[in-house]
Subunit: 213 residues, 2 copies
């Protein structure tokens, strides 16, 4: 995908510490343009939210000597109930205790700490997987507004054993309101197991079969 | 206000560690009922967002021996440019580097660490101040959707020198989208100084005069 070339180029600018790629799809998700588009913002600092996630993964690795996302993928493939779809290189899950209804994470199945450091063939596989995932979402929820964000390692920390890049997809079905702003907790009326079942069973044109056990 | 009696009563239940009071006004702010209402949720843990705010205040106090919110109020009254309105006991500010356009904080001017531990006369003054503040918001932005949340000390930590209870008011004018979810940063197109000026100069029925220097 073109994202990768843009990221690699921006990393030549020594001012930047993090590159965020995201997509706001639909008016409720904050899209400000009519035509399909995604966005890239390069930042001179590592955002706090990113720092916390990467550091938490490091603490887990420090204790267990395993990547937490690799452990999550292993556990989810054992039970199968939160798996949405899989292909050779990628898997999409409805994460355990999701914050949002029909929230999904799309992850590389093999450990990979940064989005931009993968073989070219991986990006074609990713594109197919992302398309498959979003088609399922469109089918089940009738083309909802959503955001997706690529979560990857900060610049200068690209190669590591503790962080696992992935894409988080958040359909805009509920409102973030007083309770969420006041606590940082999220009320989610749809269990991820139920969301995953709907998404897994969705009838789409060119499905990637979910390898449910 | 009735909030206080509900809080004091709920605090008799030893399971609870935090009581959040909030209001979602308007459909865009997540209101699920047509009639005006606010909500109270008692929680068996201190939410992470609350813990972080209280702990940050404690660190500031530990270093400076002053409450950070008392310092903010002092500084804002010196410059005046972010003050929205004031009465005898309360002040409303557009906080420095606000996350949201027209975000406001309503605070007691004298140090007070918890919402429920104040003299009865304070609540009448608060009610007038909150009404004044929200009337200004309605006048300037033509009755926007908004959330407000009461920020107060956790149960068991009510009386302290480092935390200062207050109400945060967030009009829903922008969307929280991919950039915000990916970073924890917020894009705010309206400087708080500009928002405060509009709100301060709003023509409302029974204004509380802003004591701008």
């Amino acid at each position: 995908m073109g994202y990768r070339d843009r990221m690699l180029d921006l990393k030549n600018d020594k001012r930047f510490r993090y590159v965020l790629i995201f997509k706001n799809h639909g008016e409720a998700a904050g899209a400000s343009l009519e035509h399909p588009h995604s966005q890239l913002i390069a930042l001179p600092i590592v955002p706090r939210r990113v720092r916390e996630e990467v550091d938490s993964c490091w603490h887990y690795y420090d204790e267990k000597e395993r990547c937490i996302f690799c452990d999550i993928i292993r556990q989810e493939r054992d039970t199968g109930e939160r798996i949405v779809c899989e292909n050779e290189h990628f898997i999409t899950l409805a994460p355990y205790a999701s914050r949002f209804p029909f929230e999904m994470w799309l992850l590389p199945k093999a450990h990979s700490s940064s989005y931009e450091n993968n073989q070219s063939s991986m990006y074609a596989s990713l594109a197919r997987m992302l398309k498959d995932t979003l088609m399922r979402l469109d089918e089940v929820l009738d083309r909802p507004a959503y955001n997706f964000m690529i979560h990857t390692s900060p610049i200068g920390e690209e190669i590591n054993d503790h962080y696992h890049w992935h894409i988080e997809i958040i359909p805009k079905l509920t409102k973030v309101a007083g309770f969420e702003w006041g606590t940082g907790f999220y009320i989610n009326p749809t269990p991820p197991e139920e969301a995953a079942r709907f998404l897994r069973e969705a009838k789409i044109a060119t499905p990637v079969p979910a390898q449910k056990k």
